[in-house]
Structures are given as structure tokens and as C-alpha cells.
Symmetry: C2
Subunit: 428 residues, 2 copies
């Protein structure tokens, strides 16, 4: 079923994040039929998810319908579905209504949160991978302030006004900075009983420094910038438990109603369907061509792949996924023209992380490392530039300028029915 | 609990739609303490909900956090909670954590959908009263096209591409027109297997004409404009059943995967807490001052009130709710200054309904009735003008101009976890 009727090779791409979308686009002029399967109808610009979670941007500013993004690419079709299994011998993937055959398969399903074996933490400490995750986090943050305003119990009020972010990678740092900014600026005038500027934001990191993937000097800069805005940064502090009351650490408990997870990621479970042996993080070891050993027709790219370039492990970042997607397309093109496949070479374009208004760090090359306003401007520019579509760029840029000038955030809506409270017992 | 500590009269306003918000604002300079209780954190501009449901606008374009809207009004506080009961003798309202005392109570909880006793229809035919409703409807409409694209069964494809709107009041007419517009314009280039322009949109109305609250000539104009854009209008057609397969009517079944409810409304159940006798639609009969008989300290305004002005029933429209809220505030002000309460006089500002791009009807006065482009321009102007906040006005206007020029709709996201499909049986 669902196999296109032409005689051209059929490329199935599973997952339309940065890697899957790059592969799709790179196949536009190749003589193949492409089927993109994703369980969401939209491509999400994940680096800005934290801004949706903190009420700064609308979901549609950073997410575009996949079929709209590739509408002009005649050789590609889109299927909103989930791939549950792969049959490497039969060369088929299983979706809801049956099997889809492929000549080439590109698996780009990325990573999900990992709670290091503590799956019971997930309920109390949501991570940030999808638009739905971001809307859930937004609901939790905004509800905490509402409940702090409504309660008369000082302990409960303090607990509602304490936000704990676990993990000080880029997402954790960005979340912590943004939550602090909401509390001190955006919400300040809107509450009568509580002083939102007194909210506590605690950033917990098990390792010795924030932004562990960045050089030491920028970790130090980021930590100082976080402290300057009032975030309580606690490095070398392992989390030992998370429940409805808050977080337990080796240094004692932190009562908190809102815990956000920025710590572990684990590769998508689909890796198991294409490789018997995964690495410790659940990723699929791939060849120098990014293919699965023994199955040159199956590529794994992006966060799901354990790949190397020049003997160095390729990091799980958006540019690596994009380059991986383009590489897989080049390999397919080489096969069709009878030439040799190229070897994957990862080009490191540097790293950026932002802490908040005028605050960020940039690691563009060993000789170009800096923090502060300039890093923030670079961050803003790169992120607006990378968004898909002129209108998303324009809306996001205008939103940021407005937010910078007024301190307001335009998407402070609590949606989703789970916030409804229940009638008191004894009520009619 | 939660009672403010000053000696000023305490006004509790339940519900912050058009009526509750107008009452709150009108009390800004009156020597009272105001507590606004709403179960949502935002005021929603309901007339444009159908645009969120049809992917044209973002939720935050038409909804604003209540506490942000009234942040400068020092005598008002906001409580995100639900009122479950009212004790008229004790003068308290019951919320989740206890009771709140009042000196004046303004009940403005509006109306909800009514399925005329067929509550089992609700699951298959969602109505449109809240942002969450609109996101649910958006998900259903967009998913129907995805499923039509994915299926190979022609009957199922036809069923997925048939949209039925029940009820031809303004919401039903606007929804039908917008769904047709999405199918013929917005989605046209994005699908490979289906021809979205072949989608059927059926508008069912039990009465003899569309827009029954408008004069005959405009009903005829609206029906012609609907037919011109390709909507299948069926008046005098009663719905006898709605289930997962579609709609049953006296003229036979209509297989449809997406049924939208624009027909009945019923007053909020809170009416029962303040009055023993309700009218047939569940509304609270009120005095000429909009108060409950025997309880001059309790006002009921907006869609929940059965009120009269000059011997004529006041319609359940936004301007009536706004005028009712302002009137209740004036009555309280009169009480405090020892003067007589005014009698409520409803000022009819006319009615507007839109069918789509350049198509609408306007009933501004008996001598000023027209349809077509001019009516549509008036409709656009009035609705942008009425939105709260400069930024919402700007965003909405720019979105409409962009949509008019390109035919695109920027908020085509399927969110909410309910759209996830399940693994096929027999899958690993």
C-alpha cells in the first residue's frame, strides 16, 4: 500500500525534524519518489520551543505544516502517521494501516527525554521536545502564579513560586533565564497578592558547570549572567527524586510546584528496529556514509545516529542533523549515477545559548568566543534567519522587538482542559 | 476567605466574557473592591473563535490574560477558579477552596452548547465557545484532510472530505464559509492524492432560512453568497442523529467525518443557583434593572439573562452583554450615592455576519442593509477595532491582509495528543 506507482526508487524518510526535512529538500532534483512520514503534521523549530513554553512566541511562529513547507516539491508526499517497526529484509516500514515498501530508508526520528530510569519523574518534570510539550510547560508555569495568588498558605505560596530547572544544557539555561524574566518583568504588574519578582528559579546541574558542551570560559560567563538576572545556579548537585512536592537533591529537598526537565535525552526507540547493537545512549552506530552496517540502503541521521567525523563524535545538534540529511541524499544520488558515495564530514558552525534579554554566549570558533549583548544579537539574528518562511521570520522578529521594548509576552494563555479545578466536596 | 480587607463594598463578578469585563471596567472609578472569578485565565473574543478553528488566527490574537487586561485597575483582583454554587442568603459564592463573600454579585457566565437533549452528539459535533473548543475543531478539520490523503478507500475518502455544519446562525455560516475557503484555496497545493477543492461543505438548518435573526433580504443574500462559494446549503432540514459515521437527517444520511455544531446554546448552569424559575432556554428572568427578583444585590447579565428593553427581548449578542455589564455597574454606583437605579435600555447597534473573502451581510438599521464586499469591509473593521490591545489589532489586521493576498493561513497546526494513532495489532 501507499507505494507510489512510478518505477523510480522509493525513498522513505521517517521523521521531519531538521535532518528529515534537509534530506527531503536535498532530494528535490533527484530522480526518486519521496514519502515523508511524521507523527506530527508540522516541522518544529526546536531551538525556540522554550520561547513557546515561556509565553513569548506562538506555536505557529516556530512550526509549519510539513506538507506546506514542501508543497512545491513534486516528487515528495507527506503521510501523517507513525512508523512502528522496520523489516530490513522485506524493506518495508509498518505504519497504522499496513506496510510501506522502500528502496532507501532514512531514519531521522531524533531523541526524546530520558529520566535515567526514573520514568515516574516524567509526570512531574516535563521536558521540551514538541509543541504539545511546550504548551504543557506554559500551562504549568502560568498556573503556578495563579495558584500562588489564590492560596493563603505561605508555604504553599512559596512552593508555587519556586521553579526548578533540572539540567544546565542550552535548553535548561534558556528556560531558567526566561522563567526569571517572566517573573521579574512580564507578570510584575498583573498580580495583587503576590510579588512575582520574589519568585525563585533554581537551575540544578549534576556536572561541575553550566553549558558543559561549551568551553570553560563561556560556562563561567553564562553562570555569571544567570546569577546576575537572579537565577539560583547550583552545579555539582545531583537530583535524587522528583514528585508532586518538588525535587530531592543530595543537599536536601527543594519544595517546588513546577519542575522542568532539561537534562537527559535518549535516542528514539525506532533505533532498535534497524540495529541490534545500540550505544549507551540508545543511538545507532553508523558507517562513514551514515548507513547501517550491512544495510547500505538504510541511513540513520541526526540525534538518533552515533556518527563520527574525522575520528570525533558528531554532536546531537541541529546543524549536524541538517548536514546528515543532505549527506544521505548525496549518497542516494551517487548510487543512482553509479559513482562512489562520499564520506560524511561534519562542519562545526559553532554554538550559541541565550540567558535572556541582552544576555547570551557564543562559541563561534576557538578564537571567537564571547558573552553578553553581542552574543545575544548574534543569537537573535541566527534564530530568526533559520526560521522557515518569510512570515514566521517577520512575526518572530516583530514579537521580539515588541517584547524587548515593553517586557510583555503575548502568548500567556492557559489552554488544555487539564487545568480545570474540581468542585469542592459537599458542593451541590 | 479571599475577602478583601477594606471596608468598601465587595463586588464579585463571575465570568469575564464581554459582560463581566465591561462590568469590571465600569467599576474602575467606583468606591468598591472587585473580584473577578473566571475558570479561564483569558478573556476570549468569541466572534473570531471560528477563525482560530479554521487556522486563520492564533489563539493569542483573540484572547488576552484577564489580569493583564485589567492590570491598571487597582480596585480589581482576578481569581482563576470556578464558581460552583451561590448562597443568596449568606451572600457567598462557592469556589474550589471555600466561600467568597459579596455585597454585590454580577453573574455573567453566558451560554454553552445545547444538543437539545441529545448529549451523545457532543462527542461527534463539537461547538465553539472557548479557545480549547476552537483548537479541537481545528485539529478535526486538518486531520480529516490528512486521513483523506492517507486512505485508499474511496468511500472513506469521500466521508473524510465531507464537512457538515449544523445550524446556520452567524457561527455556522462563518464556519461553513471558512472551511470551504480552506479547501479551495489554502490547502489546494499541499496534497498529492486528494483534490481538496472537491471537498463538500454542507450547512444544515432546521428553519426555513439561514441567519434567522437577520431580515429576510439578508438571509437570501447570505444564502446566495454561500452557494456562490460552493457551500451546499440545506434549509428546513432537521438533524435526527449524529454519530461517528456522520449525520442523519429527515432527507437521509450524510456520511461525514467532521461535524461541527453551530446550532443550540443553553444558558450556563449557574443560573439555577440564583433563580428557582428559569425560562425555556435556561436563562434567568431579571428585573428592569437586570437584577434577580427579591435580590437587588444580584445582577445577571449577558447570555444568561432573559431581559427586556422597551418590551422587546434583548438578544444574546456581545453588545447586549457589554451594555448589561455597564448597566449593573451604574446601578451599584447609584446605590452607593443614594440615587435611584436606572432602567436598562438596550441600544441595538446592528448585526454583521461574514461568509468569507469579500463576502458578508450587514444589518445596521432598517434602512441600512447590504451584502457583499462593503459588508465584509465593515465586518473586518468592526472586528479588528473591537479586539483588546494595540498588538492584537495589528497582528490580526496584518494576518488578514496577508491571508487576503496569499490565500494562506498561518496557524495550520494539529496539536493535542488525541491525534496520535495507535500501533497496528500484531505490531512489535
Amino acid at each position: 500500500m501507499n507505494r507510489q506507482s512510478s518505477d523510480r526508487p522509493h525513498v522513505v524518510i521517517v521523521g521531519c525534524g531538521f535532518g528529515g526535512l534537509a534530506a527531503t529538500r536535498a532530494l528535490a532534483d533527484v530522480d526518486v519518489d519521496v514519502t515523508v512520514v511524521d507523527r506530527e503534521n508540522h516541522h518544529t523549530f526546536q531551538p525556540l520551543l522554550y520561547q513557546v513554553a515561556t509565553a513569548g512566541l506562538n506555536p505557529s511562529d516556530i512550526a509549519q505544516p510539513i506538507r506546506h513547507v514542501i508543497r512545491k516539491q513534486d516528487n515528495a508526499r507527506v503521510l501523517l502517521d507513525e512508523v512502528f517497526d522496520v523489516d530490513l529484509d522485506a524493506r518495508t516500514v509498518r505504519v497504522t494501516d499496513g506496510d510501506i515498501g522502500y528502496d532507501y530508508l532514512i531514519v531521522a526520528t531524533g531523541a526524546t527525554h530520558s529520566y535515567f530510569g526514573n520514568d515516574d519523574w516524567a509526570e512531574f518534570a516535563p521536558g521540551l521536545k514538541t509543541i504539545d510539550d511546550a504548551l504543557d510547560v506554559r500551562r504549568r508555569i502560568l498556573l503556578a502564579f495563579e495558584r500562588a495568588e489564590a492560596t493563603t498558605d505561605p508555604d504553599e505560596r512559596a512552593r508555587q513560586m519556586t521553579f526548578v530547572v533540572v539540567g544546565a544544557g542550552p535548553t535548561g539555561v534558556e528556560l531558567a533565564g526566561a522563567v526569571k524574566e517572566i517573573a521579574t518583568t512580564t507578570l510584575r504588574a498583573d498580580f495583587r497578592t503576590i510579588d512575582t519578582t520574589a519568585s525563585r528559579v533554581v537551575l540544578l546541574e549534576a556536572g561541575p558547570r553550566v553549558l558543559p558542551a561549551f568551553p570553560d570560559s563561556l560556562s563561567a560567563s553564562a553562570e555569571k549572567q544567570l546569577t546576575d538576572v537572579g537565577v539560583d545556579v547550583r552545579t555539582s548537585t545531583a537530583v535524587t527524586g522528583i514528585d508532586a512536592d518538588g525535587v530531592a537533591t543530595a543537599d536536601g529537598p527543594i519544595p517546588s510546584a513546577t519542575v522542568l526537565w532539561g537534562a537527559g535525552v535518549a535516542a528514539s526507540p525506532l533505533g532498535r528496529a534497524v540495529a541490534a547493537d545500540l550505544d549507551r545512549a540508545g543511538r545507532v552506530p553508523v558507517t562513514a556514509e551514515l548507513a547501517v552496517g550491512g544495510h547500505p540502503e538504510v541511513f540513520v541521521i541526526g540525534d538518533l545516529a552515533a556518527s563520527e567525523s574525522g575520528g570525533v563524535a558528531v554532536p546531537g545538534v541541529a546543524p549536524a542533523a541538517i548536514q546528515g540529511g543532505e549527506h544521505a541524499a548525496r549518497c542516494i544520488e551517487a548510487d543512482l549515477s553509479g559513482s562512489a558515495r562520499p564520506t560524511f564530514v561534519y562542519e562545526d558552525k559553532g554554538s550559541l545559548a541565550t540567558i535572556g534579554r541582552s544576555k547570551a554566549v557564543a562559541d563561534l570558533s576557538p578564537r571567537l568566543r564571547f558573552g553578553g549583548l553581542l552574543a545575544w544579537l548574534v543569537w537573535c539574528f541566527v534564530h530568526v534567519w533559520s526560521l522557515i518562511g518569510f512570515r514566521s521570520k517577520l512575526r518572530t522578529m516583530s514579537t521580539w522587538v515588541w517584547q524587548y521594548l515593553t517586557g510583555r509576552r503575548g502568548a500567556r494563555l492557559i489552554t488544555g482542559t487539564t487545568h480545570r479545578r474540581h468542585p469542592p466536596s459537599g458542593s451541590a
